[in-house]
């Protein structure tokens, strides 16, 4: 195993990619229950309103944010000669993703702890 910042970034990119695909299936399953009528949809929706799912939503934000900003990093690498800044760009992608996860996570926690 050749461990480096790039390796961590690469593994995270793969894992978050798979997480996003799995989320998409779950999402379609939940929304798709609407085709079986109002009661079925409400019942399915009630399952995913629990605290466990709220916490998982924060993880989802982290996955989306990291995957998105790592993608932006890759685009910059492809179109500009920024290879001298490769390490800084990995850290920038981590930091920006962490920032957005914190904002989204705090909003979700607020809803969870102090329901309107």
């Amino acid at each position: 195993m050749y461990k480096s910042t790039g390796f961590i970034s690469f593994v995270l990119r793969r894992i978050t990619g798979v997480v996003l695909v799995l989320y998409l299936f779950t999402h379609i399953l939940v929304i798709g229950s609407a085709t079986q009528g109002k009661e079925a949809f409400d019942a399915t929706l009630a399952i995913v309103q629990g605290p466990l799912f709220k916490i998982m939503e924060i993880a989802l934000i982290a996955a989306v944010a990291y995957h998105a900003f790592d993608g932006v990093r890759l685009l910059i690498v492809h179109y500009f000669n920024v290879i001298d800044y490769r390490k800084s760009m990995f850290y920038a992608a981590f930091a920006v993703a962490a920032f957005f996860t914190a904002i989204g996570g705090l909003l979700i926690l607020q809803l969870l702890l102090y329901p309107a």
């Binding site: 050749y2 790039g6 390796f7 690469f10 890759l74």
Partner: protein, 263 residues
């Protein structure tokens, strides 16, 4: 380099051993070697082979970082051991861990099977394919054109980049940073007549688009070369292959002419 007086007199070299005849899997063996400020890791390996354990197997040839034989994994990083001082790699307990290049089949101890490395190298046709009208004396290539090739031409084929590549870890079908760098050298060479053919080979499924820009190759290269930039350049050139071929054909009309006096 640390002060010679404060230096410990011995270093502990931890080497991954593997003899396919006797061992089921590799194991770590420790050796104590005498240390001076200018001992390289290769010196330590030589000492072990000569004085402590003659069965230790490793590749080396020139001892001044040009043959590319002695690339090994030192403390988790691929390096040429002949130009790496032992003191620079020691931790505060005076230990250094040496393993063979990762992701390649081990033949014995620190020697790995580099077959896939050379197969991928040959795949890009690493030689120059010159035009038919070879001039009597020399080709006229501009300093700018030579400068563009500078990134690639000092590669010594040590395999440090290849075996640090995460894509190589997953598939040996991938062209690899070393071959991409060599292809870059030939594609950008104004004397080469087959840049289009090379780009077709490189833009396939196992070509340059498979790179995940992990940058391990740049960090591993003992010659400070930049295979990732070569791969990015080849990706862009592969998009406009026909334009490049036309430009090359045009350029080669003046390649064999003498330089004008006003230039």
């Amino acid at each position: 380099m640390p002060d010679a007086n404060s230096l410990p007199t011995t270093a502990t070299v931890r080497i991954q051993r593997f003899n396919p005849d006797n061992d089921k899997k590799p194991y770590i063996q420790e050796f104590k070697v005498p240390l001076t400020a200018d001992t390289t890791i290769l010196d330590a390996l030589h000492y072990i082979k000569a004085e402590l354990d003659g069965s230790l197997t490793f590749r080396r040839s020139c001892r001044h970082a040009i043959c590319g034989s002695c690339a090994m994994n030192v403390n988790g990083r691929n390096k040429l051991v002949c130009k790496t001082p032992l003191t620079r790699e020691m931790d505060n307990k005076g230990r250094v861990t040496i393993k063979p290049l990762p992701y390649l089949p081990i033949i014995k101890d620190l020697v790995v099977d580099r077959t896939s490395f050379w197969e991928q190298y040959l795949r890009v046709k690493p030689w120059l394919i010159p035009p038919d009208n070879v001039p009597e004396k020399e080709f006229r290539v501009s300093p700018e054109e030579v400068e563009a090739l500078h990134n690639a031409e000092t590669c010594i084929m040590c395999g440090a980049c290849y075996s640090s590549c995460q894509v190589i870890a997953m598939t040996k079908q991938y062209v690899g940073p070393h071959a991409a760098l060599k292809a870059y050298l030939r594609v950008l060479d104004p004397r080469d007549t087959a840049p289009g053919e090379r780009l077709i080979e490189l833009s396939g499924e196992d070509g340059v688009y498979r790179c995940h820009t992990i940058f391990n190759c740049i960090d591993a290269c003992p010659k400070n070369l930049n295979p990732t930039q070569a791969i990015e350049t080849l990706r862009k050139l592969a998009q406009k292959r026909q334009a490049l071929e036309a430009e090359r054909a045009e350029r080669q009309k003046t390649l064999a002419l003498p330089v004008k006096s006003n230039e």
